[in-house]
């Protein structure tokens, strides 16, 4: 295609946008509504996902060391745990530290035990993939000099299955929303194209190739997508900015989980909204014009 023709298509598509005033408005509104829904939804899902990841990362394996193990045996055990497949990191916490933790939690009275500490030395290990904690814990349990291995059995299985279900539900909802959006938009664009099927017929009769006819429509779909993305991007950005400003300090006190940082998260969401708008517009136009090209 020659540059001159490209320029012609470009002008043509912009002219259609302005000449088909109400149809443009209808299509852009449809894109706006759906992208807004998708944008807000993605925002919520990504944050829930972050919370889920944080929760998962908190899962650790507590390896209680045999009382009889001497320093050399402990060092050997640390090596062995570190070399176990699926272990991301391991930390040693001698029994003195363990007692200090108890003192912090239950009070100074427990200092009595400092003379004769009844606690075990402990390793804290984390699995590379938190979902495989159980498997990794069992492997560690089979090593020498381990007295007991705890990883919150029963509880974490429930947590993981809950997190997995909510992730899948979110994904399905987003896909369903996108599908609806595409359907809605391709229908709206189809109406604008039906109104111009005569134009297409004439173009074909004077010898225009299919791509020559298609490109202005596809560009038009792209503009519709971009125009439709403006309001959702503005709203989602403002919304997240304010939510982040209000909620983050409160969540920080709770120390349990936190929101995704404003940047780069919001830029990623915006890019996604824009990209989806363009894809939906282009795809919608492409599908709609296809029907009328068989003249």
């Amino acid at each position: 295609m020659k540059t001159r023709t490209a320029g012609r298509h470009f002008r043509d598509s912009l002219r259609s946008i302005s000449r088909n005033g109400w149809m443009t408005f209808a299509s852009v509104s449809a894109v706006t509504v759906t992208l807004l829904l998708v944008g807000v939804f993605v925002m919520i899902m990504m944050n829930l996902n972050k919370v889920a990841d944080d929760l998962e990362k908190d899962v650790e394996i507590k390896v209680i060391v045999e009382l009889t193990a001497d320093e050399a045996a402990i060092a050997a055990l640390q090596e062995e745990i570190k070399n176990t497949t699926g272990v991301a990191e391991v930390q040693y916490s001698p029994k003195e530290d363990e007692l200090n933790k108890l003192v912090l939690d239950f009070g100074e009275d427990l200092r009595l035990f400092e003379q004769q500490n009844p606690l075990h030395n402990v390793f804290y290990a984390k699995a590379v993939n938190p979902q495989e904690t159980e498997k990794v814990a069992k492997k560690i349990d089979s090593l020498d000099n381990t007295f007991e291995v705890k990883y919150g059995e029963g509880k974490i299985e429930k947590l993981f299955s809950f997190l997995n279900t909510s992730r899948n539900v979110g994904l399905v909802l987003i896909l369903a929303l996108l599908f609806t959006a595409m359907f809605l938009i391709s229908n709206t664009i189809r109406i604008t194209i039906v109104a111009r099927r005569r134009d297409i017929e004439i173009m074909k009769l004077v010898g225009a190739t299919n791509w020559f006819i298609r490109i202005p429509f596809i560009l038009e779909g792209m503009w519709l997508g971009i125009l439709g993305a403006i309001i959702p991007i503005t709203l989602v950005t403002t919304l997240y900015y304010n939510i982040h400003k209000v909620l983050s300090p409160k969540l920080a006190q709770g120390n349990l989980f936190e929101l995704l940082d404003f940047s780069p998260f919001i830029y990623q969401v915006n890019a996604l909204i824009l990209l989806m708008g363009v894809l939906i517009g282009v795809w919608g136009s492409f599908m709609s014009v296809r029907k009328f090209l068989r003249v």
Partner: protein, 228 residues
Amino acid sequence: MIEMKNVYKKYPNGIVAANGIDVEIKQGEFVYVVGPSGAGKSTFIKMMYREERPTSGDIFINGTNLSTLKNSKVPYLRRQIGVVFQDFKLLPRLNVYENVAFALEVIEETPTIIRKKVMEVLELVGLKHKARMFPTELSGGEQQRVSIARSIVNTPQLVIADEPTGNLDPDTSWDIMNIFEEINARGTTIIMATHNREIVNTIRHRVIAVEGGLITRDEDKGEYGYEN
């Protein structure tokens, strides 16, 4: 230039519009296609620019076999053929100049050549002074002249006209015929389906009569031959 061999066309609804048509039309001829409504005239003409495909048989235009022509090649066939319709088929949102220029933009001509050629054909059809007007601001005859200008701007060897005077009053029809005569005088083949008895009987050319999907009469300098 045009050759049809045993062309048969049956529409999905069962109507047979061409039932074994054999015909040859040479470069530079002027041919009237006559016949009652629904006799297969339009189908006969539409098959020449591949708006309809024959069910069987072969159609050659300048040596290209339309029966085996790929869909993707159809635009290139249409660029060699100018088509004029009863209802003009102008783009309503483009002015006269843009409507004619459109046929050249499609084939990616340079702006200089487009301007030159468009002004030339508008001169030929006598509408140079109305180049900036829109189709709705023109009379039927003027719109038809625009559509003729569009069909020939590309200097095709063949112009096909499907009842070009069907919507026009007698005086205007004669104007349109004069334009076709002039185009034909330059060596362009013209095939015109028509119901206009007076025109056929006055400006004598070859007449092909189509009835029941068959060519029932084919004579040089023939008559219209129907009472209407």
